[in-house]
């Protein structure tokens, strides 16, 4: 059941990416100029309204060197960067609050700009004003035809975070084993699972899984809710799938607690795991 769901997600995502690649391969500069004047090339974040045209100067000053004039991720620095800059013409984004395969909300893009993406060359651009960021979100949306025809997905619901208990941390370990997080992230969360060395992103470039033991920020945020969101929406464009069909909300919180125990910082979760004597999950079977 789990495997089927994962395969189904992967197939849907691959089909979407393939469709995007096919569609975007034909994107021309003239089309992008045309899209610049459409309602889709705007953004709405709270009380802010972003105007794509107002961001042209900032994009040219700050972004073009990596993301390129056409937003295709082929800026002059792209050849030196790993991971490669985001290709906006595909409109496939890692950090979303929306289900896998859907477009992110304006708020998602807005927050990504300010937060940056750890373990990449994308720094936190939190020196921009809120208006500048809103304008840049609108600008990003003029690069892909997907914004002309699709609406962003509906953000997933994140239930209130329950209290950390030994039972939940232990249950989280079971989830970690059951959905085979260890295959990529390793039994101890060190990013060294048996599949780690074979992973590629959707464009065929090697990619590494997150190393929990290193303790760096997560790609899409640093809070428990961010971690919950990451594995429930997946990181589109990467091998990290959405587990929304495989993990119930309460199980997701259990997993968050167990993953926290794998990080090197002192935490209640880590103390509980130690007191319980939790050992790394078995990597020889699919059970705990």
């Amino acid at each position: 059941m789990r495997t089927e769901a994962l395969h189904r997600n992967a197939v849907i995502l691959a089909a979407l990416v393939a469709a995007s690649v096919t569609a975007c391969a034909q994107v021309t500069e003239d089309q992008q100029k045309q899209w610049l004047g459409t309602p889709a090339a705007s953004s709405h974040i709270g009380h802010l309204s972003g105007n794509a045209k107002a961001a042209a100067g900032d994009y040219r000053r700050y972004c073009v060197v990596c993301h390129g004039e056409l937003g295709d991720g082929n800026g002059e620095s792209a050849q030196w960067l790993d991971p490669k800059p985001r290709d906006f013409t595909l409109a496939v984004f890692k950090c979303r609050s929306t289900p896998t395969g859907t477009l992110p909300t304006d708020q998602d893009l807005y927050e990504t700009i300010a937060r940056g993406l750890d373990r990449s060359n994308m720094p936190p651009w939190n020196t921009f004003t809120t208006q500048q960021r809103a304008d840049l979100v609108a600008w990003i949306k003029h690069y892909s035809p997907r914004w002309q025809t699709e609406k962003p997905g509906t953000p997933i619901e994140i239930p209130p975070e329950p209290e950390v208990t030994p039972g939940r941390v232990k249950a989280g370990r079971d989830v970690f084993a059951r959905v085979q997080c260890w295959k990529c992230h390793g039994a101890e969360g060190r990013g060294n699972g048996p599949s780690a060395s074979t992973l590629q992103d959707d464009l065929g470039r090697p990619i590494l899984p997150y190393n929990f033991a290193e303790g760096g920020r997560f790609k899409c945020g640093s809070t428990d809710a961010d971690l919950y969101r990451i594995f429930m929406t997946g990181l589109d464009g990467t091998p990290m799938p959405s587990f929304a069909d495989n993990i119930k909300p309460e199980e997701a919180w259990d997993l968050v607690m167990y993953l926290r125990s794998l990080q090197p910082f002192p935490s209640k979760e880590k103390a509980i795991a130690k007191s319980l004597g939790l050992t790394p999950v078995s990597t020889t079977s699919t059970g705990p």
Partner: protein, 459 residues
Amino acid sequence: MVSCRRFFVAVISLSCLLASFTPSAQALPAFARKYGLRCSACHEAWPMLNYFGQKFKDNGYQLMNDRDSPIWQNPSYWPMTLRITPYFHRESTDKLPDVVDAPGTTNPSFVRGLTYSGFDHSGLDILTGGTLEKNISFLLVPSADETSAFHMESANVRFDNLFHSSWFNFKLGKFELDNLVSEKRILTLSANGGAYQLYHFIPAGDANIFGQIGDNQLGIEWMGHSVNDRTRISAAIMSTTDGSPDVPYGKNAYSGFFAASQAFDVGKLGTDRIGAYAMVGQAPTVFLTSGGVPIPSTGTGNKSFSREGFVGQFYFNKLNFQVVTQHGTDSAWFGAGFGNPIDNPGFPNNGPGVTLPAGTRNPSWNGAFIETHWVENPQLVFIQRSEWVHMSQQSIPGTPSNLGNTDNYVFGFRYMPLMNNRAGLAWHNEYAWIRQRGTALDGSDTTSSSVMSGLDFDF
């Protein structure tokens, strides 16, 4: 006496002005190479920092994206940048002592103008900087003047984000003061426009060279800032040496520099910032002598000085203003010419029994400049600066109230046809005009002008 002082003032002022044309501004393609960013990501117009560049600097030359440690760099990466500016220039001064026809003259009738032009080159900056480890940064800038005489422009190590807080950063060594409008990032380069007069102003007859906030200083600095750099605050303690090594002046003379600023989002216009700064310090006036010659490092008899003012950076889309004000005060002893017999053996030494001339007062002055930039795009910027420094109180009674007042106007543009993540090239054009009141031998004003056109490049 007044004529003699004017002569010295004229000579020293012109020497300072010409010597000031060592564009040791700090723009590092080494950082651009490291992070794959263009100059424009950090520079409003190279080398002037924008907010992102200021935050990058405040974070210890780190983007804070886990790619800051040198371990992430290709082993062949060498964090070094060279910068120099070949140029053509024309310099003109209307009233100089006629030392050819009347060597050593102080006679007011022997003054004449001087104009010359030619091809030239600036000094050389060798800029190296980056991280020794995550959250330990450095900057080392050996710099040569145009005659290839080297000095150490910057040499410091900084411990960044101590206790995982952006409010705890400590720097030790020779460093750029935390000026919001830093002369090290000035966009103008000519002999008469390549420095902020306000940052180097010394009243006529005054001998205090230690209050020059445009110069890098030797000391230790604490700096803190909010995560998005909107709030910045710093305090530094420096040896009162104007950045000279070997503590050549006072035995126990220190100065402090303090700065704080706050930025505000102003919607579609961008981000504006206002702040204040102050430099307070003491410098020696009493030196031991040997055969009448002052001995370095023996200075005592510290007297005080201060510089304080407000700073603003205001953005209106493509137009931005930098405004700096300053009120400066020196001890009456400096005003009377005491304070630096080491560099100027002819200046008086405050030895036993020496008293101030009757009625001598603390010299004070007020100044301001407004620098305007029209940033058409990251590759083309038009520059204008108007600067005024006027005495509010002369030290010696009877001195003309406007003696030494300085007005400076600069216009220019920089076009950067080449601006990538490896190198920068700017075609720089500038005209600067300066007037100093009453500093000619005949008591009239001295005016000078510069015209330059050059290629400012780094790689």
